[in-house]
Symmetry: C3
Subunit: 439 residues, 3 copies
């Protein structure tokens, strides 16, 4: 539970807010690479309560710049993206990806030379990596990009997308960190009884001795709705470990990474499975873009899996051409009360959509002054504490992880062990050096 | 005419307002019984500027509760209505119709036992009667339900519905009390001349000696647009009596009941006719639900009449599946300027729709600081005075009628008498003991 | 560049604003004559941040009155327009085009006689001329109508319309005065190169010795994007003269009239061409109506030209039945990035739509505190200075042109002269006495 002031601090990211100041010290995904074509249409993007235009120039370089022409304030969105610059449609002033004004055709050459330096528009530091345009919204020197594993693998081993979420970023993050809700929100219903993850369980019906671990864990999710949480701090964030009772003296561990300031690597995967992660980038106080990453360290993401993810599966939502989820706030996520009785606990199709629905349902900004937290909310509590303490750091101090790209090379995932196994051993066995650089 | 402060007092019903405090001392219709199915979808209802969820449990009992789960604030609208409770879709906390938390599955049993009392959510007092879910929004002990006649008759003798109105509740009530507008707003046009009530008059053309009283009165309505009002106070509200000149020394009386704090029994009926009444329940300051009741003390409402009311007739609007009128503010009530020339004074189809249009047209909240009231506005004036004086009562005093259910067993209606007949005699003749318990 | 206070002064026109006070000292177009039929539907018009109803009575006279009935505040929009007055649909109070209350049928005759003078509603001074309903929003005596040339010609020589613009009036005016943008915003693209005005150039391909001046000037527009501006002040406003380099020692002059407080006569025409002008009337701070006038002093506007203007051409937009442009803010003016590469500089169809797009793109109210003005913005600067200085005039002083109808009988247009010709001679040659009454 937070005070009203703490809740405000956690959730607001406009340029004059404390959290806005913090998040601007980290690289953030600005858009997908595929959204920008060379000399194509500029893309309007609003992030952290600020408006920008992204465009890809004739040489393939990406610029993310202030949208208004410094001459008379016309929006460069209507400009022509031509010959390595965006040219204003009103009087032809032209700007390159760095925001430099490179042409002022409605003034004499002499005047133009003097004016150009004053006519520079704000441009973000940009790096394009892993099919994502990354931007650094801060001032001054940008740090190195964080070394996420999905950035390190070849393109064939990766699939990325994004989706729009109609609520404040922080409660959506909290949904990602709170893996205890898998036992409810994502559960299936069979014969009126709650069973494991609907999406998978409805396709598989093997039971008994031949039940594979991939199905067992769904059963464990359904059977143990009160997992025990342990949280470990590392140099880029937190490893959130949830223990559930398995079969015959076994413990089923699901381990989630939270990486500063707004990334998460999701659990639910064994080593053979595809890894998944998210970044929640605030648009304004009431909405955010959720960037979604799927990758495998060792093998390709095949065409079939790629098509499935693109159509909406797991953390990937079914979206339209503008990356707006088909099932969303305005249509109550197309909830079916009939299916809620017979097929899935939520009556909403899609893991992602279930997560989005429940986060939206907390309000545009969740009221954290009224809560009754329990032990399974430990991950959520530690996330809030970490953010609020980093926000408090002296001006000038580098917040956790921001200058430490290697600290982001971590993994999340599941493990099944005899119940007496220590958590340290669990982490070592499952992740080796990819657990985190412990603080 | 009111001061700005008085207008604010009259119209605002949020929990910290004076009128909000008053109205919370009376039972109010919350929704129709038919809107809630056992173990069916919860219904979002906003009333008196507060959000609630209504649901009917496995045993048929109705709950109207706060919408947000006390755990992490997820909206219980997405919950499962199952086995006598609404279970949150996020982590499975479950609440019964009284708001009691009956299950906290993501905590240990010991923790859950301690938490449940703290996890109670606000639930309104509920009674279901006359096909309506009645709620008491106040704190503490609820009084008895008011004994409206339509509550006392068997279901076959009653038909109820509701409709949405896009303006403040009070001006909509005033439209119901101001029966003088029948001579204009609801008039028909024939051969370019204003004639009686369009809806009826267009179907009937009998004149002269054989003209029945049901048509005569429509002619009187058209001919006498300045009725003389007398208002009598009783223990649940006001009896508003309007006298119009009839034929050959007769007086045509139309008598309307206003019942505290927001009910009205409409005039226009002789003893053989169906009785009609309304309740205007504020949703927020800019909209309200109008509950509509039709009944007859002695005979059934037949299938044909029932179908006609359901399709929109008289005080019943033509509505869609969500009880939104088809003809409404956004589409200018489908006014036809052609029909306004040739068929009806307003050019809008439907008595209800005409009333709704004119109330909406006064603005979202009518500006009562600018008015030029005349004698026919007496009912409106007395309504305002009564509300404002009841609002002023000492805290703790019971407002008029709130503890007096029998005082609501009154009737409204029309009567034709020789002009020398005293009003008291008129009332006695027409209503007997159903006029009101005079103060 | 303006201060924030100056920008506010320039752009706000509500009744208690300085600019609102200024503009109310001039006649303004309120609607098109064609929008009002005798005894037809009243038209809701919002102008200068105030709501009115316009209606044409049985005798053809036009009234523009306050919308709310003084009795109980019902909106007279739903009233009956009958027998020389608008009758309220609620209780039948009736008002004539002067706002006089001429009937109060729900009161006794004696009461009605006393009430009628108090029941007068505000009515604007109205004159109907040149197919336009002109209104004087100020108090007291209205001056004479300004003598625009399009008002003086017979109806056959004139075509008028209007269009909705979704931004503050002042930046839309500035777009009309800033003719330097013709070299960019309205340019065509051929073989990847910017060429003259797209709309015309795409239809004509004559070059070389036979190139007519009507095409030459388009080439000059494309070739000289930095015209030299000279501004001359006269008794109704400003003559803005832009010189571009023509062929072989010639200068191509384009001369625009700005007429107080919100009119412009556009350039681009030689004597044989149709003349064009606009008035930008604020609706509220974020939108305006642009009235569009086409006329020729000496010849008829033929059916073919009339049809072309009605369909959208030049300053006339393609509009729907409510005069809303088909290409507008919500649909990004149907910009085609493909056509922006190959056909037109903007990718937007229509000169008018290009102007509207770029003005809207400056924001709902352009931020004039952040600008980098150049010499070609001289006309814009002089417009602002003139408005701001007239706003500052002592109360009671008549602002420029407001009492001087003859000063509006001026013309705009183009001229081609040897480069040594003085501007005074250019103006004398091209306009004679129609240049302006110099101050």
């Amino acid at each position: 539970m937070l005070t009203e002031a703490e809740n405000k601090t956690l959730t607001e990211t406009h340029p004059s807010s404390a959290m806005g100041n913090l998040i601007r010290k980290y690289w953030q995904p600005a858009c997908l690479s595929q959204e920008l074509r060379s000399d194509g249409a500029p893309l309007r993007i609003k992030l952290l309560n600020e408006d920008f235009l992204a465009f890809r120039d004739s040489e393939g370089k990406v610029g993310v710049i202030e949208p208004n022409c410094p001459h008379r304030g016309a929006n460069l969105f209507f400009g022509r993206n031509e010959q390595c610059g965006l040219r204003c449609a009103y009087h032809g002033w032209k700007f390159d990806v760095k925001g430099q004004c490179v042409d002022i055709p409605n003034a004499s050459e002499q005047v133009a030379i003097q004016l150009k330096p004053k006519a520079k528009v704000r441009a973000l530091h940009i790096k394009e990596q892993a099919d994502i345009v990354w931007a650094y919204f801060g001032e001054g020197q940008a740090p190195e990009l964080p070394k996420f594993e999905f950035m390190q693998v070849p393109p064939e081993q990766r699939f990325v997308s994004k989706k729009f979420q109609q609520c404040n970023w922080a409660q959506a993050v909290e949904g990602g960190l709170d893996t205890s809700h898998f036992s409810y929100l994502h559960a299936g219903i069979r014969d009126g009884m709650k069973v494991g993850l609907h999406e998978v369980s409805s396709r598989n019906q093997v039971r008994g001795d031949n039940e594979p671990v991939s199905l067992k864990r769904l059963r464990w999710l359904a059977e143990d709705g009160a997992p025990r949480f342990t949280v470990k701090a590392h140099k880029a964030g937190l490893l959130l470990c949830a223990a559930r009772t398995g079969d015959q003296g076994q413990t089923y561990w699901r381990m989630t990474q939270f990486l500063m300031p707004n990334h998460s690597l999701t659990p639910g995967n064994f080593p053979e499975d595809t890894s998944l992660a998210n970044t929640w980038v605030p648009i304004d106080e009431h909405s955010c873009w959720i960037f979604c990453y799927a990758w495998h360290p060792d093998r390709e993401i095949g065409e079939k899996e790629r098509a499935r993810l693109a159509a909406g599966s797991g953390i990937f939502a079914e979206v339209d051409d503008d990356f707006m989820p088909i099932r969303r706030r305005e249509n109550d996520y197309l909830i079916s009360r009939e299916r809620q009785k017979t097929v899935s606990f939520s009556g909403i199709e899609g893991i992602s959509e279930q997560d989005q629905a429940i986060a939206d349902s907390q309000g545009f900004i969740a009221d954290r002054t009224k809560e009754l937290l329990v032990q399974t909310d430990l991950g959520v509590v530690r996330f809030r504490n970490l953010i609020l303490s980093e926000v408090m750091k002296e001006n000038g101090a580098h917040p956790l992880g921001s200058q430490d790209p290697d600290a982001y090379l971590v993994r999340s995932g599941d493990h099944v062990v005899p119940q007496e196994t220590s958590l340290d051993k669990v982490i070592q066995e499952r992740f080796g050096n990819y657990g985190g650089q412990w603080i």
